[in-house]
């Protein structure tokens, strides 16, 4: 029936003869310390070896898409903050871009710079928090996460000053941003960016080369590139396998073609590469931030023609995507000309990156499942929406 060569085999070829009585069924989650929220996996084990793994979703299905169909376009903006709640500003940007394409709104230059700066700061938060949670999954709960959150608090202070909230920013508007940078904000951001490499060095020293980490991550969970592309995997996970596909380069949205940065690539795509990719991307994000903060122009922060109330985009549809910290974050909007979207669809990177979780885990130990899940970097608000 299914001829997809990238499909997982029905049973693990390593253990073809399985005695049903000897198998152990384990339900990991929805309340489990390693599942990053309320994700659940039904794992079937033969001894310690995974022979089947079925993810179960929906424990955080908050009906965002249905609610968005009942409210105005602007009212959905604060809801996008709560999708991937570690990085609200990139969600804002993706949604604002989709509406701008849908209605044909121009964005002023300064607003684009502000968006790039906030998005890259968000990437710093996401990747450092990823390192912390990933280490936590391997049993190093504490140090790495605590250091990551110490730096996160500094970035959140900046966000609080700019957007008025630590996490739920509700900052971007169709055609720009809600408000301009407060006085002295850019200088404070530069100071943070200049101090950040020191923290990165520290974090790298803490974990890179640690023999336990190497043993647990190297050659764990690798899949061939073709399978990853076919499975819709995007973002750092895809680049860890050596595919040079970064939407900031492939389809330079905003003003990304103005900045010089490199796309880090891995070799094998195992969990170690996925961890290292994040470290390298952090350094590239810092490079973008330095350029953007240095070149920040004057001008309006929002398109003066954009409307807040009674905003009605013309009939049509638009799909817009950005390179979110976790992968390709897209919004597909269909407008029938009224104040509410007719259809509002989110393409969540975390959800689609989980497509191949079973393939990655088959034949490995249960302990590796936790490491692989951690390396995917999911946020449940986005997986289940």
């Amino acid at each position: 029936m299914i001829s997809n060569p990238f499909m997982a085999p029905a049973t693990n070829p390593a253990a073809p003869e399985l005695d049903e009585d000897q198998l152990l069924h384990v339900s990991l989650g929805p309340q489990h310390p390693s599942t990053h929220g309320v994700f659940r996996m039904n794992v079937v084990l033969d001894g310690e070896t995974v022979v089947s793994l079925k993810p179960v979703f929906g424990y955080l299905h908050r009906n965002h898409e249905k609610i968005a169909e009942a409210v105005t376009y602007l009212s959905s903006m604060p809801f996008t903050d709560r999708l991937d709640y570690i990085c609200p500003l990139t969600n804002n940007w993706a949604y604002a871009r989709a509406v701008e394409q849908l209605a044909g709104i121009e964005v002023p230059e300064r607003a684009e710079f502000i968006r790039v700066i906030t998005a890259e700061l968000t990437r710093l938060i996401n990747h450092t928090a990823f390192v912390g949670f990933f280490l936590g999954d391997m049993g190093a709960w504490g140090s790495a996460l605590m250091y990551a959150f110490r730096e996160r608090e500094k970035i959140l202070d900046l966000f609080e000053d700019l957007t008025g909230a630590r996490m739920m920013s509700n900052f971007m508007r169709f055609g720009g941003c809600r408000n301009d940078l407060p006085a002295g904000w850019a200088a404070r951001a530069s100071e943070l960016v200049n101090g950040f490499p020191r923290f990165l060095d520290e974090l790298e020293n803490l974990i890179i080369g640690n023999e336990v980490l190497l043993a647990r991550t190297q050659n764990v969970g690798a899949l061939p590139k073709e399978a990853l592309i076919n499975g819709g995997i995007t973002g750092p996970m895809l680049r860890a396998a050596g595919v040079a596909y970064d939407i900031r380069k492939a389809e330079p949205y905003g003003i990304y073609e103005r900045f010089e940065f490199r796309v880090p690539l891995g070799e094998t795509g195992d969990c170690y590469d996925r961890l290292m990719i994040r470290f390298l991307e952090l350094r590239e994000s810092l490079a973008i931030l330095r350029q953007a903060l240095a070149q920040l122009p004057d001008g309006p922060y929002i398109n003066p023609k954009s409307k807040v109330r009674n905003f009605k985009p013309p009939v049509g549809e638009a799909y817009a995507r950005i390179e979110g910290p976790k992968g390709e974050l897209g919004f597909h909007l269909i407008s029938d000309g009224s104040v509410n979207p007719f259809r509002y669809r989110i393409r969540p990177p975390s959800f689609i990156n989980l497509t191949l979780i079973e393939d990655m885990c088959l034949g490995l130990d249960l302990a590796d499942v936790v490491v692989i899940l951690g390396s995917v970097d999911i946020v449940l608000g986005e997986v289940d929406r």
Partner: protein, 209 residues
């Protein structure tokens, strides 16, 4: 029997500490609340932030997040409880040993919050389990969580161990498990626990609506 506070103060100045057995027990309980490591959504990130260096929940003796409900005293419902998740939350609550307390952190846990019009969102966890302290906010700042914790500690300090108004955990007749809702064809069955959830009647005048 309450102690005269003036007398207690006098004795304290002479190096003698006097207290009642009840306050001593409550003091012990309030000072080492072990929360369940249980994050649901956005608020969980702020809950983690509250345990980290800047806010440091350990100063309140509540940093020992236990992965198992059997070892926990405090359930911080941090995030949206969906209908698919609600039976599991009730089950976790049932598994916790008395005395147990519940903090509903954030709008979603209190009332469904911004997502309350969703078909899969439970409009407040207090429909199924008793909530001691509610912290509004979306998400509440870490300081707000600490404030909620302080409020809970004040409540625990006032608990009675004897008499008719004694706390639930001191009452041997009160220990029944809460019923776990089941999945129905359109909604949870039942949609709320009538023993726990009695919302006040809302009266609106005809001209208002």
């Amino acid at each position: 029997m309450a102690i005269d506070p003036k007398l207690a103060e006098d004795l304290k100045s002479q190096g003698v500490h006097v207290t009642s057995f009840e306050s001593l027990i409550n003091w012990g309980r309030a000072s080492s609340l072990w929360p369940l490591q249980f994050g649901l959504a956005c608020c969980a990130i702020e809950m983690i932030a509250a345990t980290m260096a800047k806010y440091d929940m350990a100063r309140f003796g509540a940093e020992v997040f236990r992965p198992s409900p059997r070892q926990a005293d405090l359930m911080i419902v941090a995030g949206t409880v969906t209908k698919k998740m609600a039976p599991q939350v009730v089950r976790l609550y049932n598994q916790m040993a008395e005395p147990k307390y519940v903090i509903a952190m954030g709008a979603c846990a209190i009332s469904g919050g911004p997502f309350k019009d969703g078909y899969n969102v439970l409009k407040g966890i207090d429909r199924f389990i008793p909530v001691d302290v509610s912290i509004p906010g979306c998400p509440p700042r870490p300081e707000a969580l600490l404030h909620g914790l302080i409020t809970l500690r004040e409540q625990i300090a006032k608990e009675k161990l004897l008499g008719r108004t004694r706390a639930r955990h001191a009452d041997p007749n009160a220990g029944a498990e809460l019923p776990v809702p089941t999945f129905g064809p359109h909604d949870l069955e039942p949609t709320f626990n009538p023993d726990l959830w009695n919302p006040p009647a809302i009266t609106r005048h005809a001209s208002e609506s």
